[in-house]
């Protein structure tokens, strides 16, 4: 061992003066770190841009314009025979109620805004929502004794009127609009100053059901939120345990051979299958073969489960793989069974990665529309609130993203605003879900 002595000691360099090579390396280091910061900042900047766009466009949906007027429930029109027979009252359709409302509004205009250009009751049609008739009919059927009386109602204003109060509709913009005229806006201004027309917080947007194309002012996201909720329950309850169980089997128990390779490739391949193809599968398997009901959140949840499974399995396997083998050895050496070593030690250590996969998988499932298209959850599904958990899973319903997607397509710009409002709610839903997972994840995170 003489070669060491041939080594001439390196020239002494001061620690305080940084050598050129180290300078270069440090510059590299600084650049590398800067890239990191830039990357995080880029992500956050885009987040801010997207979120502010969403908020800017969507907050309007949380307010709505209402008209509060007394309406005379004319017996001659609602109960011709005057015997308060509920079946007969039901025969009067919503079309029969519309004139009553128009009369009431016209009366209010004549009283509060005398001299307006609105000269007939029919002309007030542009001011009120078509939903009003149904609203009043429901009340009357529930309380037939109201007939013949004058009752004060708070009814929705038409979407154009609402848009006028929100600044979306202007006097210029209605120039060629056949649905509303400047005279209507004049009246709205007056009635507003009199407190009859008011813009208020719109709870119905958060709790309500979808409305038809011609009544954006009535549409709410509540029912489809429940649809999403029931769907996500199915997804969570199925995909997390199944995904984790499948990963555990594949990563810890399955023999390593061509067969497991096939499964592995196959699972990553499933992640690349377009979501609409899962819809095709769902339609064939769950509806046509298994005979589950159409448009049901249960089916939606099953389809989304199949779609999210690969995401969860891939991230779970990756994090199971990263648990050091010595931990497994330690447990096995103590006489723990393989199963015990996995469930007691490996799984908790892999939990952060599993939860990340779950967050991302569920986020994807929560925002997915395409597969729902084929199993009948996209469209006009203004169902009522599910009457219980079973009907929540089985009755036709939509889901938030499908609802938003539909709204974004509709012609009336009022729906565009609602679409963004819906996105806000979807994000709140998502963030709530994430926070729970993140809190869990932080409890499991530990570097060793």
């Amino acid at each position: 061992m003489t070669d060491a002595t041939n080594n001439t000691p390196k020239a002494k360099t001061s620690l305080l003066t940084v050598s050129p090579r180290v300078k270069k390396r440090n510059a590299q280091e600084a650049r590398f770190k800067a890239y990191g910061i830039a990357a995080v900042a880029t992500g956050l900047v885009f987040l801010v841009i997207l979120l502010s766009t969403i908020l800017y466009n969507g907050v309007g949906a949380f307010q709505q314009t209402f008209i509060t007027v007394p309406i005379y429930l004319d017996e001659a029109k609602l109960d011709k025979n005057g015997n308060r027979d509920i079946e007969e009252i039901k025969k009067v359709s919503t079309f029969g109620y519309t004139p009553l409302i128009q009369d009431a509004i016209f009366a209010a205009i004549e009283e509060k805004a005398p001299g307006s250009e609105i000269t007939s009751a029919k002309d007030t049609k542009a001011l009120i929502s078509a939903s009003a008739a149904a609203q009043i009919r429901d009340v009357v059927i529930a309380n037939p004794d109201m007939i013949g009386k004058s009752v004060e109602f708070r009814i929705l204003a038409a979407s154009r009127v609402d848009g006028y109060l929100k600044g979306r509709v202007t006097r210029d913009s209605i120039a060629r609009d056949k649905n509303i005229d400047a005279k209507h806006l004049d009246v709205v201004d007056t009635l507003r100053s009199k407190g009859i027309v008011k813009r208020e917080f719109n709870m119905a947007f958060i709790t309500g059901a979808d409305a038809s194309e011609s009544r954006p002012e009535q549409a709410g996201i509540g029912v489809s939120m429940l649809g999403s909720l029931f769907m996500m329950l199915v997804v969570l309850v199925l995909s997390l345990p199944i995904g984790v169980a499948a990963s555990i089997y594949l990563e810890e128990f399955a023999p390593q051979n061509k067969w497991t390779d096939l499964i592995e490739v196959n699972i990553s391949n499933l992640a690349a299958v377009p979501s609409i193809v899962f819809g095709i599968l769902g339609l064939a398997v769950f509806i046509q073969f298994a005979g589950l009901p159409q448009s049901a959140p249960l089916v939606g949840g099953l389809v989304l489960t199949l779609m999210t499974l690969p995401t969860i399995i891939i991230s779970t396997r990756a994090s199971l793989k990263s648990v050091p083998p010595s931990i497994r050895d330690a447990a096995l050496g103590l006489g723990a069974s393989k199963m015990q070593s996995v469930f007691h030690h490996v799984l908790p250590l892999a939990m952060p990665g599993i939860l990340t996969g779950t967050i991302i998988g569920l986020a994807q499932a929560l925002g997915e529309t395409a597969p729902l298209l084929l199993i009948g959850m996209v469209g006009y599904i203004a169902s009522n609130y599910p009457s219980g958990p079973i009907s929540g899973f089985m009755d036709p319903n939509s889901a938030m993203p499908a609802q938003i997607y539909e709204w974004a397509k509709r012609a009336d710009p009022a729906y565009y605003e609602r679409a963004w409002g819906g996105i806000i709610i979807l994000l709140v839903f998502l963030i709530t879900m994430n926070i729970i997972a993140i809190i869990l994840r932080r409890r499991f995170e530990r570097r060793w």
């Binding site: 359709s93 209605i174 298209l373 084929l374 009948g376 469209g379 599904i381 203004a382 036709p396």
Partner: protein, 323 residues
């Protein structure tokens, strides 16, 4: 399995707005549950319609075109034999540009043919379309770059656009005759050539919805797009509509047959489900009733061109006359 008690409708997204208005009113006025109206396109709707009879298939298919013979055959193969065809009215197709954009006020089919054709006959040979501005197509149109947003090949509207505008324009300009001369009288090929749209970016296919077309026109001053009448009527503040062949589009001019570009809308009812699915017949009858589909009804108010022969349609539904 619990029996299904709601009417299940699927199909065309063009018909969806009207169907949703009807379904909503139906739910409000009848004791039956509100029908479920899915969107997903005429093809997908009819496909599910023809999947067979039974509760796990839909009852009604909306379509923005007539059902095809091949589809009827496929239906029959799956046991769906008695189909009631209901025409609910017409969809007007309008040509509109940005409200603040150049003055596109009047179009002729020939303008569109000249602007968008892929190849045009010039001196006995087909040459690629070189029109760069609308003025190149028609000197009276503004001299701005061509930026046309037309329905993508998935939309039935595209077929109508090709036949009623491009092909018509081809004929009007005499190009059809010239092409026939060049290709030796192959009519089919000639028509196909007439309807081929240039692919150099002057014409943009929209596979999305009218909202997408609107967004594109919003951000492109020179843009001209194809819309449904109802959509236009809800967005008159952003869009300016042009006349076609000198006629302004409106429910009246279309119903009268003056405005040239429109198409019928349909829904199809599975006769076998009538009497089994509660409310199915009532829904169909309600849909075509005067209250709803008449000229004063909410559908017309929303932009559907009421069918002048509505009474005949009502009779078809009432008598459950299969095709």
């Amino acid at each position: 399995a619990a029996a299904r008690d709601n009417v299940q409708v699927a199909g065309s997204s063009t018909v969806l707005p009207y169907a949703s208005i009807v379904a909503e009113a139906f739910g409000e006025n009848f004791d039956f549950p509100t029908p479920v109206v899915e969107s997903g396109g005429s093809s997908a709707g009819l496909k599910r319609f023809c999947e067979g009879v039974g509760e796990n298939t839909i009852d009604v298919a909306n379509a923005s075109r007539k059902i095809k013979d091949k589809e009827i055959a496929a239906c029959a193969e799956a046991g769906v034999t008695d189909i009631i065809e209901v025409r609910i009215g017409y969809d007007g197709i309008v040509f509109a540009s940005q409200i603040n954009g150049p003055a596109f006020n009047a179009f002729e089919p020939a303008d569109w043919y000249n602007a968008l054709a892929a190849e045009k006959p010039v001196d006995g040979a087909m040459v690629a379309n070189t029109a760069a501005t609308w003025a190149d197509a028609n000197a009276e149109l503004p001299a701005v770059e061509i930026a046309a947003f037309i329905p993508g090949t998935k939309h039935g509207t595209r077929e109508v656009f090709e036949e009623k505008v491009l092909l018509q324009g081809c004929e009007d300009t005499g190009a059809l005759a010239a092409i026939l001369e060049i290709n030796g009288g192959d009519e089919k090929a000639a028509e196909k050539t007439c309807m081929a749209v240039r692919t150099d970016g002057k014409s943009v296919d929209i596979d999305g919805d009218y909202t997408e077309t609107l967004a594109r026109i919003d951000s492109n001053t020179n843009g001209v797009g194809v819309f449904g009448l109802a959509f236009y009527e809800n967005n008159t503040d952003k869009l300016k509509v042009a006349t076609m062949s000198g006629v302004a589009p409106s429910t009246e001019t279309i119903a009268a047959g003056d405005y040239p570009v429109s198409r019928p809308l349909f829904f199809y009812v599975k006769k076998a489900h009538i009497g089994v699915i509660p409310g199915l017949k009532e829904y169909a009858e309600f849909f075509v009733s005067d209250e709803i589909a008449g000229t004063d009804g909410p559908l017309s108010a929303y932009g559907l061109v009421s069918d002048p022969e509505l009474a005949a349609t009502q009779a078809v539904v009432a008598n459950e006359e299969a095709m």
